[in-house]
């Protein structure tokens, strides 16, 4: 076995404030030019190292998992490996054709038919027209959408859409495949099919790098794992033992998020955190029968246009479970802001979620539109007090609904 990926001292820095400031304005640039010609050079802006001195090697025909908390540098590393962004320092040698799937269905257009989108998406993923034509039937068969080939994909169900998108990606023939959480799509039967496809890819002697939050997937798929923490390689080695270390550190939860970027506008996030009166032992998660509060600690520094904070709750298979916004109770789409520092609180009721891991994505109002902050918080709901744990029922949520019985006011008869 030979090395196909050799990374040495890879670092990537963002200047604080710049990383996510959506854009500069001409005006600011002009002001800056004037300032710097009159004032002494200001000291360089604060730098934030998303990756610092990361080195590793990956052999051919190896499936390697990349794990770590949010903000550990996984996405940055994937983006550098996929050549989407450039490292600030270091060097990576890749031997072979590289394909990266940070998202499935890139370039899919809703107005185009399934057939047209296969060609378009294939081309974007780097396949030639001949290659796509050769694999076309196989792709359609894998996606199970033959009947709807000439229907615009805007009429597809989300399941069909995702199956088609994944099918195109699955028929790439790279030497090195880079995958980000894309397995978390479709129903479980389709996921099994995708996992099977990934194993085939490995048995064909190709190399796969997978990022996943789902440790079950990682341990079933990968022989080796690289664990990133704070932009550095914390540990690397045999999958099972690294995953065990990772889980034992209780690092799978992120209860507090503080922004890494500077203040972008008159709206400022100080922090967003999860609170609950009851935490089950060892900080592993919250009992299903206790409410969970998401607390938004914000400041409004100046007059700020009406807007809202959105909170999206995702399950660990990537499904969007619900969206809630700070304007929901007002009856309007947006609401006015009060100046000053304040806390907004969103309560997820007790007896509502299934046991499992959840990710919270929030938005940051930016005068007119929102900046999305993905997966800023992670938490688990334990089986403690859960209805689902009592009888292994199915479903996406496990709410305690009210039942009435004849002759009682909602109280079940004693048995």
């Amino acid at each position: 076995m030979s090395d196909v990926i050799i990374a040495e001292g890879v670092s990537k820095s963002y200047r604080l404030g710049e990383q996510t400031t959506a854009y500069n304005l001409f005006r600011e640039r002009i002001v800056q030019v004037f300032k710097s010609s009159f004032a002494a050079r200001t000291k360089p802006a604060n730098e934030f190292w998303a990756l610092k001195d990361v080195s590793f090697t990956i052999n051919s025909a190896e499936v390697v998992g990349l794990i770590g908390k949010n903000g550990a540098g996984k996405s940055t590393l994937l983006k550098i490996l996929s050549r989407i962004t450039e490292p600030a320092e270091g060097r990576i040698d890749l031997y072979g054709k590289v394909s990266s799937l940070l998202e499935v269905g890139i370039g899919f257009h809703p107005e185009l038919s399934g057939r047209e989108n296969v060609y378009l998406n294939g081309a974007i993923l780097g396949m030639s027209r001949r290659e796509i034509r050769r694999k076309f039937d196989e792709i359609v068969e894998f996606a199970e959408i033959a009947k709807f080939l000439d229907t615009p994909v805007k009429r597809y169900s989300s399941g069909m859409y995702v199956r088609l998108a994944f099918a195109v990606a699955a028929h790439l023939e790279p030497d090195i495949l880079i995958v980000d959480e894309v397995l978390a799509v479709g129903d479980s039967a389709f996921q099994q099919k995708c996992l099977g496809k990934m194993r085939d890819i490995r048995s064909e002697g190709r190399t796969v790098i997978v990022v996943s939050h789902n440790m079950a997937t990682v341990s079933s798929l990968c022989q080796r794992v690289i664990w990133l923490a704070g932009g550095k390689v914390k540990a690397a080695g045999e999958a099972q033992s690294i995953i065990r270390q990772y889980l034992s550190e209780g690092v799978e939860n992120d209860f507090v998020w503080t922004p890494r970027h500077g203040v972008l506008s008159a709206f400022e996030y100080h922090s967003v955190s999860i609170e609950s009166s009851e935490v089950s032992g060892g900080g592993e998660g919250f009992p299903a029968n206790a409410p969970i509060d998401v607390v938004f600690d914000i400041s409004i520094h100046d007059k700020f246009p009406a807007g809202r904070i959105e909170m999206r709750l995702q399950t660990d298979s990537g499904d969007l479970l619900l969206t809630s916004t700070s304007a929901d109770a007002t009856g309007q789409v947006n609401h006015e802001w009060v100046r000053g520092r304040q806390q907004l609180r969103c309560r997820i009721p007790a007896d509502f979620l299934m046991p499992g891991r959840y990710f919270i994505t929030i938005t940051e109002p930016y005068g007119g539109y929102d900046i999305v902050r993905e997966n800023v918080l992670t938490f688990s709901v334990t089986e403690e007090g859960s209805l689902a744990a009592r009888d292994q029922r199915g479903g996406k949520i496990a709410p305690l609904l009210s039942w009435t019985f004849p002759g009682s006011a909602g109280v079940p008869p004693a048995d």
């Binding site: 400031t21 500069n24 005006r27 072979g96 590289v98 940070l102 974007i124």
Partner: protein, 271 residues
Amino acid sequence: MHTVIKPRRGLAQLDLAEVWQARELLGFLAWRDIVVRYKQTSIGVFWAFIRPFLTMIIFSVVFGRIAKLPSDHVPYAVLTFTALLPWQFFSTAFADAASAVVGNGYMITKIYFPRLILPLASIAVGIADFLVSFVLLIFMMIGYRMQPTWRILALPLFFALCLVFTIGLGLWTAALYVKYRDMRHLIPFLTQFGMYVSPVAFSSSLVPARWRFLYSLNPMVAVIDGFRWSLLGTTQLYVPGVIAGTVMSFVLLISSVYYFKQTERVFADVM
């Protein structure tokens, strides 16, 4: 295949071979834009006729009939239409190319491909539209019984000049747009204001001789005069102006490719 990823320093590597390898993708993206546009409109391809046709009528009435500007001895409608062909190609292709990178930002943050493909695909769409409107010109010339001369052979050269200028300005703006979102306001301004400073609605013979050279620093002057010269044969070709426009266009093109390649490395970071 061996790929090395490391920070690029100094002057950008052009790496145009990579763009050439991705030409199929360029074709697919252009094809997508054309197909989607026609699927979304009810009269589809006819828009490519209607836009220049209506503009031509308005210009002939306002400038030909009301303002009574000289028409160089050809019908005013033909005078404006020969200019509208390259002008509408320029204004549409330039505006689309300029917004191509920002408009496809989600692709840029999710996958690698030569970024130059995006604005170039927009320009390819413009070329397709140009060819459609050109058919209308052929009908008009038949209608007015105008015989083309050997000069029509020079037409592709003037279109090539127009293309060079459009790509140059388009790439500059597309790259600047990523960093400075003010471009959103500048782009429509450039295409509107540009129409008044280019001889679209009038003949460039109206420009006083001493200002002629300065006026010709706008490459669209050479392009439009060139179109009229090769199609109508009436307009005098002002050679220093054509040379100035050509030099300007190529300077713009070469500098724009360098600037684009220089800044593309941070596209995904600031998107």
